[in-house]
Amino acid sequence: MMRFVLHRIAVGGLRWCGAVAVVLVLVEWSFAGLAGGPHHVWSAEAYRPEYFGKSSLGGAYEPEAVTLGERLRASTLVVVMAAGSSLLVAGSWGILAARWRRWQVRRLFRVGFGLLAAVPGIWLVSLGIAYSHVLWQRPGFADEFRVSSGPDLLKWGQATLLTLALVFPAIAWQLQAVARLLESEGGKAYVRGWDAAGWDEETLFYRKVLQRSKPQLIALADATLPFLLGSLVPLEWIFHYQGMGQWLVQSVHARNYPGTIITLLWMVTILALAALLKELWQGRATKS
């Protein structure tokens, strides 16, 4: 087992290095090549200390100086909440949909979540109105409100709203994928054999079909993560949520090398860690 773990860690590290190289090449090509900027990725001048940790741009509402740590925490919270809830809801409801396949429950769930997922414009606008217009008479999340004592419910509230806007498309997709996988496993010849042997349908589903599909189900665990991270960028920008996605857009606007590279590395690291954990979990499930 230790050999397998070390092997996966080594592969994960290689992937991470490859991704970092791709990011650096892209930034160089885009900022120095396409935009004709004066600096290169390797120039020390491109990494002036004032660029680190603070936003160097201001939009309609000048964002307060936010440290890198605060941005990291804010965005990681949203990603963890969205990925966790997508995994839990889609996993459990997907299993339920496959179990009740004769009533076409998968389609019913798909329509429900699909409708919620297909209306990002409405989500953005209605959540924005509900949260900022009614409460603060301000668009987006008002920056000057700070919780000085007690639990920071404001931060959790903002993160929850972003999570809600992110999570429905992810659930719709993942639920469908889980249910389809189990349905296709349930249609295999060995299941018909156990059925003919007199096994109860429920026992057969939970003991055989679900158990045998475990490695493939685990393979779906991190499938929505690229979508969640990619969607976080425009959402944070529109909601004025002071996280990594907002900093990425600000940095790209300002051709800010450290901001662009750090935000991309944050995303790459999250993906690499998720892939590593998934592979370790999958390896353990396959072995058992």
Partner: protein, 301 residues
């Protein structure tokens, strides 16, 4: 009177056309709502200067109006009808989605055919390696769009080509698999044995079967890419061209003073994307049900 007379050329031609068209009746029927929607979106409007920087600038004394019976979505600070503006902006986003999807799909098909011809029906190890690498790192190219678009200052050509290249990268392995399904190694060798060139084999046997599947893929890609364009435009990186994303993002700045600036374009964009997604879903399920080879459309859709 002879009952043995051969049917006329016109009758035979009509019969052949009917026999070809009949299996595609559902797709043809579906092309009507598609056509109507696109016709409505692309028809010229009354707003002539569509530069977002001019349309969305707020003067000291804005003349915007709340929605009424003449202006369903209200007007902008310059008095332009927001419904008309939203329709044209969404038309631009949809046109972008259609162009990118078509370009990406064409490039994917081209590369898949080249790969299939190079490895002669058996997947080469380097193809498998590239596919594994691609599956592992889907996010980097997605973020690459943002960097490349930002670097090019929202240049339309660069944006189109970058996204089309990503679509091609994602779809090439899938199309390669489909070509594999239709052309196993034995079939390919038999084709060569009876004197067909690899190109003739692909052209006559594989591509006709792939046609319907590609239609399903295109129908699924269009709403997804339209949405992607809106998201990209909402970050202000799409240059000075109208887009639903630009209108929504600009409207959210004035939620207190003029909430209709965001609500109208948001609602219309949502409706158009929902209709395109629903139509895409129906096209895909018809392609699968009519046994046109549509089963197993790629998971990314």
């Amino acid at each position: 009177m002879s009952y043995n007379r051969r049917n006329s050329l016109i009758f035979r031609f009509g019969l052949a056309v009917f026999a070809t068209v009949w299996p595609l009746r559902w797709l043809l029927l579906l092309s009507i709502p598609y056509g109507l929607l696109l016709l409505w979106l692309f028809q010229p409007g009354t707003v002539t200067d569509l530069s977002p920087s001019r349309l969305l600038e707020v003067t000291e004394d804005p003349v915007w109006k709340a929605p009424d019976e003449n202006h369903w979505f209200g007007t902008t600070s310059h008095g332009s009808d927001l419904f008309e503006l939203s329709r044209m902006a969404i038309g631009t986003s949809v046109a972008w989605g259609i162009t990118t999807a078509s370009l990406g799909l064409a490039a994917a098909l081209f590369f898949a055919v080249i790969l299939a011809m190079l490895d002669g029906g058996q997947k080469a190890s380097w193809v498998a390696m590239v596919e594994r690498g691609w599956r592992g790192w889907r996010l980097i190219p997605a973020m690459a769009v943002l960097i490349v678009v930002g670097g090019s200052g929202g240049n339309l050509g660069v944006t189109l080509l970058t996204v089309a290249a990503l679509v091609a990268l994602a779809l090439t392995p899938v199309l390669r698999e489909w070509i594999h399904e239709k052309a196993t190694e034995e079939q390919f060798l038999m084709g060569l044995a009876v004197g067909l060139t690899p190109f003739q084999f692909l052209y006559n046997r594989v591509l006709p079967d792939l046609g319907a599947r590609l239609l399903g893929v295109l129908a699924g890609l269009i709403p997804a890419l339209t949405l992607a364009e809106m998201a990209l435009a909402s970050t202000g990186l799409s240059g000075d061209r109208p887009s639903a994303g630009v209108l929504i993002a600009a409207g959210t700045r004035f939620l207190s003073e003029a909430p209709w600036l965001a609500v109208g374009p948001g609602a219309l964009a949502t409706a158009v994307v929902v209709v395109l997604s629903a139509l895409g879903g129906v096209v895909q399920s018809r392609v699968a049900k009519d046994r046109l080879g549509g089963a197993g459309l790629p998971r990314i859709l």
